[in-house]
Symmetry: C2
Subunit: 377 residues, 2 copies
């Protein structure tokens, strides 16, 4: 629960004892604190590079301490509006200026050699938490990709999580300034509904045989869901403008989207190709239309990735079919596009939430290798 | 903007060149990846302890790479409800089960010697972003305390940020199942209002002379604000139950609150003292009543901390006065309580958002020293 990933590290051990276990070395640290020598600093730099670079065959070292060059968070996008319905409480003024449509971004840049920056974009009814520690307490893709050398940027879509929603219409209705039908469209996804959408089974509580989502921790997944204001957003969704700004700031990033955000990297590329080094769309709710303009994707590395049981889902089967058609059309127009269905390459049992399934890091390793081959540094 | 804290590191340099600048060492990393030797691992552990332990006098090394033992995120608290007004959209079922009142927690545990875990609790209209990278792009208190050896837990209060709000009443009104006056009470704070509340000046856009909030980046602060559902929450606010659960899980944590959450650590201690190693309440909106029961605070290290210009604020001056009375009463009853007003100890110019002011890390260093003295390991 508190994210100790020790249990999944078997097979990846490079540095077999964590620094915290080397208690006898604390004396050296205290000596350093008293007087840091240039020699010690040089050793430290060398060794932190060694740690960052150490990797078991096929993946990074998941057991060693993690060395971060820099980390933090910031916003991209956003605009100010003036409203007279900010508050119905005496303690806060109804009139004032607020910022809306900004997008929260948290990032970590690993020490040592760098691969391409990746941007993780969550799906419906969720936040950037999607990519962090899994519901059953294992390492998330965010940390896995940092350990693999990728500077990693995890966003909260506009009006979700730490990216503020806009509640002025709610207060306007409450004050009698707008009719009830002007209330924002906002929804929460119920666990029973999400069960089918996330393809844990054909219907709640039935399971697909061999399905790999850690259902014993399903309650922790439901805690990750948040109200979704997407239907109250302008078109195109401001998240795509914010993603474009972020990609350009990073000067070459892979946009990795999921589900409802699946189409955003494509929409971002239509806006501008600048800064987009590649697109990974995981189980997109929609792909661009196969008969549309493929110019934005020419020469671009594109992966559309699917889990298992898709053909057993009336919701998802047509989406996979349409994405296959898109990938064919994009490839014919010069995109370096692939549609990969995991069971077709020998990885079975994945749900729609494959970044949280029990084999999530196996898929992450596969994806990191795909990026190394198709996007490069 | 992207969190490169290089500019503020002057004076703290221990390892003077970052690992990323030692490009020639990349060959060593590649050799390691090919075959990790036990010798290299031992050097790595030694040096990562040296890096973790290296500290300039009075504070941690802010320039070196940051070594993390483990990190991640999870939820505490939460309960399920069944609703028939989850959605008004055909794509999502109106009836289902959702989780409400859970609290999101993101954590980092530094490598090396540990100090007491700290829990950072943001104030009104904000999220855990408060403690991360400052609006003008400097290192936040979250990272500073990790670098100081404190396992650090940053929360989003219940119904804020990544801790889901509850929108079922909005849809119930929209569906005609509830009258308009049953809409949730939710507000956004306008920049002009926040200007006074945060004590940037007596009124917008006037400034207090020498005030240290980085106003050139005020727009980035306004992006941090989110709608606040606190008035729609049950009493006591479920955040306090979640904080109690978190403190007990950490088996001894310092609860560091701010502004609207200022009183939460005290309310948490009334619920149970278990797991609370100390309380730091920064500019609380309220302290416990001085005539109340002081039993929960007996023997407990308590700091109530204030910035500058308090006496010039009709909103804050009475709160400081009441907190002085509480600290006196708590001390008389055996608490180890202090009320500290920064200008009275020679630190001038701080706003209500002192963790983001231009001298934020000076205050962090002072606070870390207070914790070392009063709470210990």
């Amino acid at each position: 629960m508190d994210g100790d990933a020790g249990g999944i590290a078997a097979g990846y051990s490079c540095v077999s004892h964590r620094a915290r276990r080397a208690g006898s070395l604390a004396r050296a640290a205290r000596a350093c604190r008293a007087r840091a020598s240039v020699v010690a600093a040089a050793i430290a730099i060398t060794a932190s590079l060694l740690v960052a670079g150490c990797a078991a065959p096929g993946g990074p070292n998941l057991d060693a301490a993690l060395t971060i060059e820099r980390q933090g968070s910031f916003f991209v996008g956003g605009r100010t509006i003036v409203s007279e319905t900010l508050s119905t409480l005496p303690a806060y003024m109804p009139k004032g200026t607020i910022s809306v449509e900004q997008m929260y971004v948290r990032f970590q840049v690993p020490a040592g050699e760098k691969r391409a920056p990746v941007v993780f974009i969550h799906g419906c009814c969720l936040t950037g938490k999607t990519w962090e520690t899994t519901p059953d307490g294992r390492m998330g893709w965010d940390e896995y990709f940092v350990r693999s050398g990728h500077p990693t940027y995890v966003v909260d879509q506009v009006a979700r999580g730490r990216s503020a929603g806009n509640i002025v219409a709610i207060n306007a209705v409450r004050m009698g300034k707008l009719p009830v039908d002007q209330l924002p469209t906002v929804f929460s996804v119920g666990a029973e509904d999400a069960w089918m959408i996330f393809r844990f089974g054909p219907e709640h509580p039935k399971q697909f045989p061999g399905m790999k989502f850690p259902l014993q921790a399903a309650g922790e997944l439901w805690k990750q869901t948040v109200p979704d204001w997407i239907q109250s957003m302008p078109t195109p969704n401001p998240t795509t403008a914010a993603l474009s700004e972020l990609a350009q700031r990073l000067n070459g990033a892979v946009l990795i989207s999921h589900s409802q955000s699946g189409i955003y990297p494509f929409q971002t590329a239509i806006r501008s190709r600048a800064g987009i080094a590649g697109i990974v769309s995981i189980e997109p709710g929609a792909c661009p239309a196969a008969e549309g303009d493929m110019t934005p994707y020419k020469g671009m590395p594109i992966l559309v990735l699917w889990g298992d049981f898709v053909d057993q889902s009336p919701r998802w089967a047509p989406r996979l079919k349409a994405c296959r058609e898109f990938v064919r059309a994009a490839s014919a127009a010069g995109a370096r596009a692939e549609n990969v269905v995991l069971p077709e390459i020998g990885i079975a049992g994945n749900s729609h939430m494959l970044m949280q399934d029990s084999n999530s890091l196996e898929i992450a390793r596969w994806l990191a290798a795909w990026l190394a081959k198709n996007v490069g540094r």
